[in-house]
Symmetry: C2
Subunit: 238 residues, 2 copies
């Protein structure tokens, strides 16, 4: 009983404890994705994981800490892989400006790798991540911004060099749009029912999906900034 909080630190992640913890994380990943954070109860979660109700609080502390653990397990490696790919690209181009496409690919490829690796959560996790982006809960927003701070900063510098016609502020917004389209798309599947005529074969081919997304995002990033485009006119439609 006195071990509840200390357990996580004093005990290495050995097989015996990892088993229960992993079962909880796997069930949480699926259920949080399907029902959202608030609507997923620890009772249904522990039942699905075949563990005792108290196991979540014993191993993770609180429901919120469990949610963060679910995200961290996949997100840390994926974002680290992104940074490694970006650094390798920087090394290979030797200080010369990198192409916009290649920078974007270093963002998409780790996500695609994760989506294809069922052992690392696959599409389930990416859908969960896309939904987490839009969750209003403050602890989720703070957690995500902390998790992404370094990665976003690095990419902003890289894109700035690749897109010299964009101001820092303009680029900030465009990266925002990119993340929006990406997270919305990854979270999607169900949302696609808004639009008919998506074939079943197409629907679950993540590589094809990103190959459709990439040209769209690259073209958007490269577009001339707003000064050169027609102004929105509010008065009339013609």
């Amino acid at each position: 009983m006195a071990a509840t909080r200390l357990a996580r630190k004093s005990v290495a992640v050995d097989a015996t404890s990892a088993d229960t913890k992993t079962r909880i994380l796997d069930a949480a990943e699926t259920l949080f994705m399907e029902h959202g954070f608030e609507a997923t109860s620890l009772r249904s979660l522990t039942t699905a994981a075949s563990v005792n109700l108290a196991a979540v609080n014993y191993h993770f502390g609180t429901k919120e800490e469990l949610f963060q653990a679910v995200l961290t397990r996949r997100l840390d490696p994926m974002n680290q892989e992104r940074i490694e790919l970006l650094e390798r690209l920087e090394r290979d181009t030797g200080g010369k400006p990198m192409s916009c496409e290649k920078i974007l690919f270093t963002m998409l490829i780790p996500a695609l790798r994760l989506a294809r690796d069922e052992k690392r959560g696959g599409k389930n996790f990416l859908r969960l991540l896309g939904r987490a982006y839009a969750d209003p809960a403050p602890f989720i927003r703070h957690f995500l911004s902390a998790q992404y701070a370094e990665m976003i900063g690095r990419y902003k510098e890289a894109f700035l060099k690749a897109l010299p016609h964009l101001s820092r502020q303009e680029l900030t917004w465009r990266l925002h749009f990119v993340m929006g389209a990406l997270s919305y798309t990854l979270a999607g599947t169900d949302a696609l029912k808004l639009f008919a005529q998506v074939t079943a074969a197409d629907k679950y081919d993540d590589e094809l999906l990103l190959q459709r997304l990439a040209p769209f995002l690259v073209a958007g990033l490269k577009a001339p900034p707003l000064a050169q485009s027609r102004k929105l006119e509010l008065v009339s439609g013609d």
Copy 2:
């Protein structure tokens, strides 16, 4: 007491009942936006609206029906305005292909008008809408797809003519990306903390926001489809 359900049908929306109903809708719009559907309790909601706890069930039936009423109140007029603008554009161009920009503007302008009209909910509602897009609750997904079905179908036909180099399937995906970037952006504000260096003046200027978003989306829509772009390479970053 026997009037609970019949009341909504037998009574016109007169001033006396509209007062309570409107106060509930206004409070719900704000609280659902701030905390999400699940995390907003009817107790906090009715307290904020200065009405009795039972008033929600009396006037709207259930919490879910209240949520749908909140969305319908703003969404129906906005989507109808979109269709009207699109139809006027079709009439003015007389069957000739319309420009991609103009079609997109008929989507953005009603959203912008709504954002600027505090009496119609303003930015609050658009943020709520952006969050509703990502909500996993099935009743929300079904409601939204029903609400958007007609509008999406019309725009798909219009864009198909304006973008003849795109297949129907390719366009379906691109509209998906557009809706993603749009809803994510509208839901944003808080999410912008992921990216630093957004000035306070910039942050709340919705017209400027859409003027930044529009060139990005137009360029993405016009981009050549995937066959002509470089393939994603999974093996290596260089």
